[in-house]
């Protein structure tokens, strides 16, 4: 550990911002430049879809990775967000600027309500409860025909806009999705790499011990579940306004499993891992289209091998924490005496 503290103090100056700056340059500079260069709607579509799933995966990372609660109903909150956006647009004629935050808020509110009776559950019982919550919400979307239009789905007539200014071009859509997703992921990053995140990790490692040390485990679990649903709801609003049509089939159980697979393949507890996992599981099936019927076998094989050979994920928690600690450790600045604070 001493050697590591040494590197921390050395790199605590300008280089701390190197990786975030490069990532920002990639997302807001290089990638859109490349997309504009190719000018293919397909590439824009995949980029936007990948970003939305990065947000979904990052939001699940907060519950499942950091707090260690196996969440099997995440897609339902994604769906609640999408339906909130679609219903606000089709019934009240509201635009994206209003529906985006409201989608997050409604998903969070609903998550808070269902969290009240369930958050005292632990381990597999919690997982089964979230499975049931996910299915309940899915069945409500499917069967409450008068309100959600049921299986008929909803056509979302309005695309992206900011205070009435349409953001309709391909590049504008990309930037809209990218800005929202990056802001949310930064927020999730700050939450998971902080004392708050450490408290969540303590619940994961031993909740009784954490309780004994004065960590309010039930309250923290409720908070993190609600926060995670907020970000999933935001992702849902992005999806609804991007595709222009949503139906309950977009939010079924298999989507929850897909998001869970992203978090696990990337590395439980690791935010960069969750992002890499999302990119992998969205880009790989598209990239392998040339394989025809074999592509899903290949995707399955890649997932299987990555779990078999890298059980901690593509970028596991320990290495991810080291990376983040070095680059983003705002709360852990060196004291100047070769020692950082926190994280020990």
């Amino acid at each position: 550990m001493n050697a590591f503290e040494g590197t921390l103090s050395k790199e605590s100056g300008g280089r701390r911002w190197l990786v975030p700056a490069l990532l920002a340059l990639l997302v807001f500079g290089a990638l859109p430049a490349l997309l504009a260069g190719f000018d293919r709607g397909y590439f824009y579509q995949i980029a936007n879809l990948a970003l939305i799933f990065v947000l979904l995966s990052a939001s699940m990372h907060l519950v499942t990775g950091v707090a260690g609660l196996l969440h099997l109903g995440h897609a339902a909150f994604y769906g609640v967000g999408a339906y909130t956006a679609a219903l606000l647009t089709s019934k009240l004629g509201l635009g994206f600027t209003v529906t985006l935050p409201l989608s997050g808020v409604v998903a969070a509110l609903l998550a808070f309500l269902v969290a009240l009776p369930t958050m005292r559950l632990v381990s597999i019982y919690f997982a089964v409860a979230t499975l049931a919550i996910g299915q309940m919400l899915y069945l409500v979307m499917l069967n409450w025909v008068d309100f959600t239009k049921g299986p008929n789905g909803i056509i979302v007539t309005k695309g992206f806009e900011l205070f009435g200014v349409a953001l309709s071009g391909r590049l504008a859509s990309y930037y809209t999705v990218a800005v929202v997703v990056v802001l949310c992921v930064v927020a999730i990053g700050r939450l998971s790499h902080s004392y708050y995140g450490n408290a969540l990790r303590s619940i994961r490692e031993d909740d009784q011990c954490a309780d004994a040390m004065g960590v309010r485990t039930v309250r923290l679990k409720m908070e993190v579940f609600t926060l995670s649903a907020f970000f999933a709801g935001v992702a849902g609003a992005l999806w609804a306004h991007m595709t222009g049509y949503i139906s309950p089939g977009d939010f079924k159980f298999s989507e929850s499993i897909l998001i869970l697979a992203m978090v696990v393949v990337g590395g439980l507890g690791s935010l960069p891992g969750a992002i890499i996992g999302a990119l992998l599981l969205i880009l790989l099936p598209e990239g392998l289209r040339a394989l025809g019927d074999f592509r899903n076998v290949m995707v399955g094989l890649v997932m299987f091998l990555s779990i078999l050979l890298l059980p901690k994920g593509l970028l596991g928690e320990v290495s991810a924490l080291r990376l983040v600690r070095r680059q983003l450790g705002g709360a852990w600045r060196s004291t100047g005496k070769g020692e950082g604070i926190g994280w020990r």
Binding site: R40, G41, Y42, Y44, Q45, I46, L49, L139, L142, N143, V145, G150, P151, N152, G153, I155, T243, G244, Y245, I246, S247, G249, D250, P285, E286, L288, R289, A290, L291, G292, D293, F294, R295, N296, M298
Partner: protein, 380 residues
Amino acid sequence: MTKGAATMTVRLRTLSTLAAVLATTAIAGSALAADTVKLGYQLPLTGDTAQYGQDFRKAAEIALAEFNAAGKPFKVEIVFEDSRSDAKEGTNIARKFVDDKAIVGVLGDFTSGVSMAAAQVYKEAGLPQLSQTASHPDYAKISKYQFRNIATQAQEGPYNAKWMAAKGFKNIAVIAEQTDWGQSVVGGFSDAVKANGGAVAFSEFFNRGLKDYRSLISKIERAKPDAIYTGFFYEDGAQFLRQLQQLGVKTPVYSTSAAYSPKLIELAGDAAEGVHLTSNFLPTDPAPHIQHFVDEWKARSGGAVPGQFPAQAYDAVRIMLAAVEKASPNPTREKVRDALAQTKDFPGVTGKTTFNADREAEKELVKVEVKGGAFVPVAD
């Protein structure tokens, strides 16, 4: 793609996956000569609904091989893309097809949800889309580029209601799967029953893939209907019919053309006896073009008889090919759309098809009853 190239692709796939990637991209690149027109077909080739997508591809390949062998001045290539019945993948594919400037028309998708999501892309890009199965009431209303080759329940429901009224059934129970299509089954039928002076004794939706219909059946029986009208596909239909038989319920069952598949009889056995349904495709019809399709299908499917959906797909592809031919030389997306819209009395295996002003297929329906383990056409 030529036949040789196709078999070569198949052979290469077995070698190694890496080689397959290179080979298919290389072939896809080289096979496209100047006089080739491309069509896109998005369909579920893997996943929960793969059985339908695989059938569609087979039907499309039959139609395409015939077209390309007929000595037309140009060849057509169909690009098949797997959507897994997933709206995410469906919209990705739609963007991909739109990007390919050589593609002048698109077929698919299978489910309404994916077709509707993809339609948003095609609407924006002005690429004509013809689905063989999308049954959502609003699908064709999305834009002037959406067509479908399926009798809607707005047409089939009143037809069946009239048929049942003529049989003297006044009090009818209606059940359907909880999908956009099931909604339209109940809506289209119930309104017509009431208009004919009948009554809907009971109506309920069930979720697809339900295993136990007994509680639903006892609820139906409590309503004491004269007959049961059902909106299901063959998998659910077979389950329902078998459990109906197990419970000893003798109430006559009527259904839609969606249940018309040889697999219904195969799975339900004698429980399917006496079921009445409508169809617009009869594999036993001696007309040469129908027998030709049935023979081709049998040759490619180990002797199995094609059902309603493959026949619809076969016709959809042929309608699209006819439109491309009409729009030639130099077909554009707009010209293909206009040609599709003019489709009138197209002689398909699912009867004569005309697209009305709303781009909905108007089809002739045939009344069918299951007798002695086979679908037999009946006069009334």
